[in-house]
Chain length 189, copies 2
DNA sequence: GTCTATATTTTGATAGAC
DNA sequence: GTCTATCAAAATATAGAC
């Protein structure tokens, strides 16, 4: 592991602040104070506040895209692929809890990178939807509105960042398994 | 129906803008422009930007609290109560899509009302959790971590505002039924 | 790599005319 | 109820010394 650069440290600390108050409510002075330096000094490492947000969001979005490509090429059936998607979200979310908040809530403040982000997001959802439709066709999952299924599962997975930090006692493999049970098999006995 | 007051109109328009960019990124000048007046004129109807956020969030939070009390006193079993909670969220979310965005994403910018909001939220979650635990005890639902079940269901319901406006062709009763199927019975065949 | 000092813009809000 | 004019504070960002 390479040691963290000053720029990476700024991005990491910024993500934490963005999770608490949102991108727009965090000032460069807030960030500088959290870093223990003056606001002007931040600009020796980054070009703008925007750049910080870009780095947080685009890195994560590309990680999800890469993960989805692996799921697609796994050769598993629909239920198997859904399991892998759940594991993908649990893994990325637990590794970058703060960044996930920006990905979910502050993407609209992207500027130059907004179109690119939205393209990745739409493609991800298209891939997810295709897996569900294939599962309906093959008879693996129930024939219910795939839009509502996708919304329900993806919303839960996208919000894991809100919840994981509170439950440190739960290990991540166990969390994946429990989510798998609940999201796929339901809670009805 | 009483006609909408100017104050109510400001709150309604503000909620729409808050959904697009978040509370902190919307200026009083943005709001004034959307109303077709000057920023200074807003202050003839409201005391501060804060007051607008308070009105949006606290009204909704109290609506959910009142709805939960009705569910509790309904005398239904666990599954029946969960059905009613789903209907509650579908109804309130569809009636106030824009306000739901603030409730979910901008509550941390409450000031005097923050403690009160957090009390309502914790109580709501306690009531929800109690229903799930009672369902496990009575054997109606599977004996899986109730925290994860609550997180999964509640996160989906709280995010309905993101999704309802896109799917106008789906009627609300049908949406409730579909969510009920997916959240309770799962998607596995 | 961090500092002080500062330029420029934007912000929430008020005063007072109409 | 809306306007123009304006204030005071706070924002992002830059210049240049150390």
């Amino acid at each position: 592991m390479k040691p963290e650069t000053r720029k990476e440290e700024i991005i990491r600390v910024a993500a934490k602040l963005f999770k608490e108050k949102g991108y727009s409510a965090v000032t460069m002075r807030d960030l500088a104070k959290a870093m223990g330096i003056k606001a002007a000094s931040l600009y020796n490492h980054i070009n703008s506040k925007q750049d910080i947000l870009n780095a947080i969001i685009i890195n994560l979005a590309e990680e999800f895209t890469a993960g989805m490509k692996l799921v697609q090429s796994s050769g598993e059936n629909c239920i198997g692929k859904l399991n892998r998607i759940i594991e993908l979200h649990v893994r990325i979310s637990s590794q970058n809890i703060y960044g996930m908040a920006s990905l979910n809530n502050d993407w609209m403040h992207l500027e130059e990178k907004l179109d690119y982000y939205q393209r990745l997001r739409i493609d991800y959802e298209d891939d997810f939807r295709a897996i569900l439709k294939q599962g309906i066709t093959s008879g693996e999952i129930v024939d219910v509105n795939p839009e509502v299924m996708m919304f329900s599962i993806l919303t839960t997975l996208r919000s894991l960042y809100l919840w994981i930090p509170k439950k440190e006692e739960l290990n991540l493999e166990e969390l994946s398994n429990t989510l798998n049970q609940i999201l796929i098999k339901g809670i009805n006995k």
